[in-house]
């Protein structure tokens, strides 16, 4: 299969305009004849389903939750970026474009990012018109705040629940279209496989999670908006149900999986407290507008805090190391996520961690409270402080929050071209599930932007380029391929139910997570990854040999649901390690211990960067790694999409 990104001709700033002009159109009467399947109802899925229905397409939308409003976009706290320049602080589409490419450590596709920056302004208009209650100034106009990796204030926000408010906007638009008859909604329905007919994605096989019934749906094109794969780490800030099954199934049916090793570890999460733990909770990046991150300078002080003999407030100012401000004075506490996370790990590795486990640093609001008063801080972050207090059992107005990095987002995903179409014709991929916009590291407040850009503004235009080549309704579920895939799905379910082993699904999920964090977490190395590849094969075999799924497959069976997702993760984890092993450089969220600047590096001596920073290899790795499935446990085939930077010059990424 070919790997052509289909980037439009012309200067960077004109590409999207030109592409819209050159894209195919389908007249309103004909749009009604096309069926579109949308899997997922988060920001990307709900906005796409609603908008495509408004255009006249017939849409079927699927989600595993009981309501589309519960998709995990809902949990995004901090905000959404847009190049509105309402603050008059020098922002522009070009600057947002530049910041995002640089933030991604020069591993994203330039043309896609440029388009993202352009449509960002439309998203804010759209959401506001829907009634999304963004924060406002006293004059009645919209407010902004700053996020990591930017020196302007371009982030729009809705207290600490921007994701929920934007998702409700998209969800209400979706429900409006359901009411009008343009969208048929299938809740508690999980996609279990993709159906490919004559090389084109033409439908899906699903399981009704209430009855266990397996059935098929055909369409003229399939859109996956199924989110990321963070739960391969078991502990992450993702929702419990988040999974990679749709993407993994598409990969196994021929869609390339791109850059899986680009995973984002978010620097400010509540630290792990025990083995029973089921998930990690994020503390929004917005807190870094006012909170200062530090660890004690001396390991002795840290040890005393861990032993409960000292508190944060006992450490005098001169004995605190505000390490982000020290290392990255230009961006300070708003250094990007990958960099902040590694700095936290470094402090803890030096024995300066303050949580009982040794894995934790402080996020301190003392100075902001002194400067602005407790009420002002409560008005800005009240709900986050409350959430922290509930989980950690400590009052963050009195003692600093304790935080540590945790898996949060995945930049890698299914490979797509400029039209958001996979190499597998007819399969489109939106939002976190695709790979294209964030490179090796996503900047804060850019996930909401990308999900909504894809759903509201990109796919409604680009999907026509595929559909116009298709005869509507040419494939139905009567095609034998549907029965074949359905049978494969029910066989897998039977096989799982009949293992009747001794260990629970969670056991395997947790083991996989620990292994993944160990070999493919914040510091990856060749030996570890090679060991990981061997171990994951063993774990996968053990799973199929010894997993226990109680109950029956007909009716609600949450253990079976989890088992199917974990089975897919066990196959995906191997690909993740292989990609991390292949990429012999450090960039963004992918940090290979062997590839970092040292005090002897000429760039460090010249003062361009610092020892310990990620060392990219543009000569050999300035490409997208798109992996083709060749069989479970087999070495996948690597296809390279070379990244060419026309507009932005490749440079050492410095925030100092």
């Amino acid at each position: 299969m070919s790997i052509n990104a289909n980037i439009p001709e012309g200067p960077m700033a004109d590409k999207w305009t030109n592409h819209k002009m050159n894209s195919k159109l389908i007249n309103p009467a004909n749009k009604r004849k096309f069926n579109i399947i949308v899997v997922g109802s988060g920001l990307a899925g709900a906005s796409a389903a609603a908008t495509l229905s408004e255009l006249g397409y017939k849409v079927k939308c699927f989600c595993y939750q009981d309501s589309p409003r519960r998709a995990h976009s809902i949990a995004a706290q901090g905000g959404i970026n847009a190049a509105k320049n309402y603050q008059n602080d020098g922002d522009s589409v070009q600057r947002l474009f530049y910041d995002t490419v640089k933030g991604g450590d020069f591993r994203s596709r330039e043309a896609n990012v440029r388009r993202l920056a352009e449509v960002s302004v439309n998203i804010i208009d759209q959401a506001t018109a829907q009634g999304v209650p963004f924060a406002r100034e006293y004059g009645g106009l919209l407010a902004n705040r700053s996020f990591g990796g930017a020196q302007v204030s371009r982030t729009f926000y809705a207290r600490g629940q921007t994701g929920q408010q934007l998702l409700i906007g998209a969800y209400q638009a979706l429900e409006k279209e359901i009411q009008k008859g343009g969208v048929e909604m299938y809740t508690r329905t999980e996609m279990l496989d993709l159906v490919v007919v004559d090389g084109h994605a033409k439908g899906i096989v699903v399981r009704d999670m209430r009855t266990g019934k397996v059935s098929s749906y055909a369409a003229d094109t399939v859109l996956l908006a199924t989110g990321g794969y963070g739960n391969v780490f078991y502990l992450s800030t993702n929702a419990m149900g988040c999974n990679a099954s749709a993407a993994v199934k598409a990969w196994k049916r021929g869609a390339y999986f791109a850059n899986p090793c680009y995973t984002q570890i978010h620097p400010t999460c509540i630290p792990v407290s025990g083995e029973y733990q089921s998930k990690l909770t994020l503390m929004s990046e917005s807190l870094r507008n006012d909170g200062r991150i530090w660890a004690p300078k001396s390991p002795d002080d840290a040890a005393a805090i861990r032993a409960g003999k000292k508190q944060a407030s006992d450490i005098p100012e001169e004995d605190r190391d505000y390490y982000l401000e020290r290392k990255y004075p230009a961006f300070g506490n708003l250094a990007p996520r990958d960099i902040s996370s590694r700095a936290a790990k470094e402090a803890c590795d030096e024995g300066r961690g303050v949580a009982k486990t040794g894995l934790g640093v402080y996020l301190d609001f003392r100075d902001a409270i002194d400067r602005l008063g407790e009420d002002a801080i409560r008005a800005r972050y009240g709900n986050l402080f409350q959430m922290y207090e509930k989980i950690a059992g400590e009052n963050p107005y009195k003692q600093p929050m304790m935080i540590y990095p945790a898996v949060h987002y995945t930049m890698g995903g299914l490979w797509v071209d400029y039209n958001l179409m996979s190499n597998l014709p007819g399969l489109h991929v939106l939002g976190e599930a695709n790979f294209s916009d964030h490179g090796a590291n996503r900047l804060g407040a850019s996930a909401l932007m990308q999900g909504l850009a894809d759903g509201y503004f990109v796919i409604p235009t680009t999907v026509a380029n595929y559909l116009a080549t298709q005869k509507p309704g040419s494939v139905t579920t009567d095609h034998p391929e549907f029965a074949k895939v359905e049978k494969e799905v029910t066989d897998t379910i039977d096989k799982l139910m009949n293992v009747r082993g001794t260990r629970s699904v969670d056991y395997f999920h947790r083991e996989m997570g620990l292994l993944t964090w160990d070999v493919c977490g914040m510091d990856r190395r060749k030996e570890g990854l090679e060991e990981g590849i061997a171990k994951i094969k063993e774990l996968r075999a053990a799973f199929w040999d010894d997993v226990r799924i109680p109950g029956a497959a007909n009716g609600i069976n949450m253990e079976l649901e989890k088992a199917m997702r974990v089975a897919d993760f066990l196959e995906f984890a191997e690909l993740l390690y292989i990609d991390a092993l292949n990429r012999e450089e450090s960039c963004g969220g992918h940090f290979r211990g062997e590839y970092q600047f040292t005090s002897e590096s000429p760039e460090v001596i010249a003062g361009k960067t610092q020892a310990g920073e990620a060392l990219r290899d543009d000569e050999n790795f300035c490409y997208v790694a798109a992996w083709e499935f060749t069989g479970v446990g087999e070495e996948p085939t690597l296809h390279k999409e070379e990244l060419e930077y026309e507009d932005i010059k490749l440079a050492i990424r410095s925030y100092a």
Partner: protein, 255 residues
């Protein structure tokens, strides 16, 4: 790490048509740092190990925002903790030796699917009936073209914080959905963008609510006390007012 030994009294129901019953079960060595749902995870692991059918309950984000978790704990939806979802209740709030009753969110309009899992799709249908601002993608004016006074925006926001969990319904002796519907309506009705469809919205949503089998509001405000997002019952008064006005307008054929 301190741990708790507890007795759980849990609602078990095999399916929508099956008869349910309270099952008694020990929960032992529960770390006090665990969340309530993690306590159930631990119990479920034990059930699976001993060959039983684990307790089914809805949950997803486990950070208090998706609205999926929905347990009635000791008779109170989301427990007696104020302004808290089930997933944010932590075991440090309980004492060693406690007996805890765990039941689903009960209401005729929320039929039980299995154990503690209920069907709350009635809420989606209420939103579909008119709980939106009909704005076609791409047709919006510049976001700053309509300034909204901060107080008004804040009021709309307070209503918009609803997570659609249904605790209001489960707490009400009449299973009324008035707090939910009034919050959703207040959010949109109090913004300038929401004015053109205001009357239609109020009439449709209230009628759909009635059609779904939710009960009437008798102004006792258990809903406000149970709401994990502390949504004010003042919204109910506003909805009643808006409904009365819209009904009159409808009667004289203005809607």
């Amino acid at each position: 790490m301190s741990t708790l030994n507890l007795t759980l009294k849990i609602w078990r129901q095999a399916g929508p048509e099956a008869e349910g019953k309270i099952e008694t079960r020990k929960a032992q060595n529960i770390p006090i740092e665990a969340s309530f749902l993690e306590m159930l995870d631990i119990v479920n692991q034990q059930i699976i190990e001993t060959g039983g059918d684990p307790i089914h309950f809805d949950h997803d984000c486990r950070e208090g925002i998706c609205g999926m978790c929905s347990l009635t704990i000791n008779g109170v939806p989301h427990s007696k903790e104020v302004g808290t979802t089930t997933c944010q209740v932590h075991m440090r709030k309980f004492n060693d030796g406690d007996t805890i009753f765990i039941e689903p969110f009960r209401a005729n309009a929320f039929p039980v699917l299995k154990d503690l899992v209920t069907d709350r799709t009635a809420f989606d249908r209420i939103i579909a009936s008119g709980g939106y601002i009909d704005v076609r993608t791409g047709s919006a004016p510049d976001a700053n073209s309509v300034p909204i006074p901060k107080e008004q925006a804040d009021w709309a926001f307070d209503a918009a914080t609803c997570i659609g969990c249904g605790a209001c319904v489960a707490s009400c002796k009449n299973s009324s959905a008035m707090l939910f519907v009034s919050a959703k309506a207040a959010h949109l009705n109090s913004l300038p963008q929401g004015q053109p469809e205001k009357d239609k919205r109020v009439l449709s949503m209230v009628r759909q609510m009635d059609a779904e089998g939710f009960g009437n509001c008798t102004n006792q405000y258990e809903c406000e006390a149970a709401c994990p997002k502390l949504i004010s019952a003042d919204n109910i008064a506003k909805l009643n007012r808006d409904f009365a006005i819209a009904s009159v307008k409808e009667a004289v054929a203005m809607v």
